[in-house]
């Protein structure tokens, strides 16, 4: 009888390892809580500041999204501040979509070469090169854009050389490694037996690539492109250096223009907290934030659709 009680007592006493486990759970849970708090805090802060333009400064949301004049310090003839964000929204979308359109074929082509045509060379040469490109700071890309792309654009198309076209060229190089390495992952996830089945049926390697491998990898490839677009949409510094930073509706691809991010980086230091100028910039930041949420949502939807297949 006594031994039973002793055994129970012994078993109920937590060992050092069991205590450590509880401690580990506490630590990882608090890390999670901190991250959640930071994310919620950022979204809340940006949202409250961004909405202030419409609540405290009484700017019409529709005007904000559709008006073409951005000059928050000045009021127009009707006494309304000029906070039309359309040029920047258009600029951001244009530059994002164009750079994705240019980068996608190169990225998928490179990924196909790395994974299907020459895996050895791909692993030895292209993989490190791609990783290197990811690691180059965006200011370096911007600087190269400023000293090479802008003069080249100027020489070929005339004008100042600053504009959507230069921005697209720089962003194309910047998002290429991201889209490429994610495309490689997507191709790598296609089971080897798909390829073997196709080859054994007499399909050529090229037929196998475009009829079987690329089809099977489509959700992954789409995710790669959307990731690239999210990166392009959010990129600030390099774009700001080559786009010209004129908050005007771009008449052509070689006219100076602006994106949401470039207006933010150039303007945020020159405004006073709480002023309309400042709040208007926060509204732009809110648009950016919402758009990255949309990109995330698209990626998740594609991922879910891919799993269902």
């Amino acid at each position: 009888m006594k031994t039973t009680q002793q055994l129970e007592k012994q078993l109920k006493r937590h060992s050092k390892a069991a205590k450590l486990e509880i401690w580990g759970k506490v630590v990882s849970f608090s890390a999670l809580l901190l991250i959640v708090a930071v994310v919620v805090g950022i979204i809340g802060f940006v949202a409250s500041k961004g909405i202030a333009t419409f609540t405290s400064n009484h700017v019409n949301l529709w005007d904000f999204l559709t008006e073409k004049k951005w000059n928050p310090g000045i009021t127009d003839a009707n006494g309304k501040p000029e906070v039309g964000a359309l040029p920047m929204i258009v600029g951001s979308f244009l530059i994002t979509i164009l750079s994705a359109i240019v980068a996608t074929p190169f990225a998928i082509g490179t990924a196909v070469f790395m994974n299907e045509i020459s895996p050895n060379k791909g692993a030895k040469i292209l993989q490190p090169v791609t990783e290197l490109l990811v690691g180059i700071p965006s200011v370096v890309y911007g600087f190269i854009g400023l000293s090479v792309v802008v003069p080249a654009t100027r020489a070929i198309f005339g004008g100042s050389g600053f504009g959507i076209l230069s921005g697209t060229c720089v962003l194309f190089v910047m998002i290429l490694p991201t889209v490429t390495s994610m495309s490689v992952d997507a191709l790598r996830a296609v089971p080897r037996y798909y390829r073997e089945a196709s080859l054994a049926l007499g399909a050529t390697q090229w037929q196998t690539i475009y009829k079987v491998v690329l089809r099977a990898a489509t959700p992954g490839l789409m995710t790669a492109v959307v990731f690239g677009m999210a990166r392009a949409f959010g990129e600030a510094l390099a774009v700001q250096m080559v786009i010209g930073n004129a908050a005007l509706m771009p008449g052509s691809l070689v006219d100076p223009a602006a994106t949401l991010t470039s207006v933010l980086t150039t303007g945020i230091g020159n405004t006073v907290m709480g002023s309309l100028q400042n709040n208007a910039l926060w509204s732009l930041a809110l648009v950016l934030l919402l758009m990255s949420l949309v990109f995330n949502l698209i990626i998740r939807l594609i991922g879910r659709k891919g799993r269902l297949q």
Partner: protein
Amino acid sequence: MFVSNDVSTTGTMQERHIVQPRDAQHPIVLSTEELHVFYGKKEAIYEGDLQFARNQITALIGPSGSGKSTYLRSLNRMNDRIATVTGRIMYRGVDINQPDIDVYKMRRRVGMVFQRPNPFAKSIYDNIAFALRLRGTTDKHELDEIVETSLKQAALWNQVKDDLNKSALALSGGQAQRLCIARAIAVKPDILLLDEPASALDPVSTSQLEDTLLELKKQYTIIIVTHNMQQAGRISEYTAFFNQGRVLEYDTTSHIFTNPQVQITSDYVSGNFG
């Protein structure tokens, strides 16, 4: 006195015993001559020359890693990018191991079914029509007809004839494997290579698959790698026993199973090793 420890000299058992098929009704359609397979510098097959008789089933048996799958995959050059294959693979008098052979055309004559059922994530119909469309067959009637006859030959038609547009991924393992066979025979190959086609299947599906193979042998020459010796015994006319990269014994299946001439074969087929 000098004592040799060579196994072939101890007792009456031989070290190798190779009897190539000689049957006027079933001439040789495929054979290998001096075939060697290397993975990098490692030699995986160094004695493996076999001849295969038309419209017969030849089973390749042997323990894991004996080289039987490597040998089979070399026959339609599926090892091209993986291994180095030297020697000649004679298909109806033509060496198909020459570098200037169009392997894609060749593989339409020497088809292959894999261990794991591997239908594409397409409909049942599109799986079978895949290779035909690549070949340029676009006529709907012709495709319909080939899909139907292929599925019938693979004994799958009655189960799927109303679901041809459903995804092939919804099929059971046995059905999927028979779809893969139907897909392989849709291009009307001459020779069908099967790499352990039943190893992922349950006994009932396995038995149905064996019936299908016995039926298919009337039109195709079949070479099958199998781990299952009973299966080799049930369906094949000839059996080759592989061990450590060599064919140790090749003869009619009944000889291999009732009167093996090599000690290791005897041990293997009686279940003493492997």
